[in-house]
Symmetry: C2
Subunit: 139 residues, 2 copies
Amino acid sequence: MTCAINYAPRLRAQGLRITPQRNAILHVLHHSGGHLSPTQVFEQARKEFPGLTEPTVYRTLEDLAEKKFLLAAHVGNGKIVYELAEKQHHHLICHKCGKTVEVDHAPLDLLYHQFESSTGYKLDSSHVTFFGLCPDCQS
Amino acid sequence: MTCAINYAPRLRAQGLRITPQRNAILHVLHHSGGHLSPTQVFEQARKEFPGLTEPTVYRTLEDLAEKKFLLAAHVGNGKIVYELAEKQHHHLICHKCGKTVEVDHAPLDLLYHQFESSTGYKLDSSHVTFFGLCPDCQS
DNA sequence: TTCCTTATTGTAACTTCTTACAATAATAGA
DNA sequence: TCTATTATTGTAAGAAGTTACAATAAGGAA
Ligand SMILES: [Mn+2]
Ligand SMILES: [Mn+2]
Ligand SMILES: [Zn+2]
Ligand SMILES: [Zn+2]
């Protein structure tokens, strides 16, 4: 049923309770593998748990992202998508065709340190989106 | 009335027509100086042009941002704010208190070049938001 | 000026997202 | 197992943002 995903201990370690709603949502994101919008999560998770409602989905996605189970990435015009937080990475999106590539965080590390010393802020490992034109769309 | 703002020639140069709706919207952003949400733009611009409607505001903000008159910055959870596009810069936002500092683009330039050569994408001068904890919120 | 073209707008309906609060149910402890 | 605590949820209503399309009006040409 829950396809051997064991988020339970990590959830409990964060003080989060294990509910069928959360299971359904994590399950959907786990299986899709990719980036899902809140609406997509809602529609798919509702199949596994028919009573599920929208406020629960939005709240859960935010909570799980805050606790680092999920990664929230904005994809332009205020749209955001979620994915399972595995390795830290960032997105590079073609503003013409939408094609997205994932880039490693490493090259940003130096920059983060510069910002930290120049501003006094302590930066998160939060996701960043860069926009541009993919190779195919440059002609 | 239009407080000596002369967007007209630049607008026309981009093939955009000059309408009272656009004037009102640009006027509001010009005077506020800061970052405004679409709702704030709508409410304030409506005072100058009472017939103004929401779809027009959203469309106009997107169009003006695409043509580089405005800069669209996301501020977390899919919220975006607009400001006049003057110098290219980025934002560093405290995820606890919301305090925002603007940082220069220069230190990102090298990174952009690295990404361009490693991915083949040609990057935009689009806005990036970084999140963290401001000095006051670190204790 | 007048007419023509077409970018821009408003309308109406809809979808997505948010809020406040009362009801529920997951956990810890007896 | 039962009970108490309180995190989590659903409800109901509303706000924010989107869509498709017909009506309007800005700007160029006659
Ligand atoms: Mn990704
Ligand atoms: Mn700014
Ligand atoms: Zn492309
Ligand atoms: Zn702060």
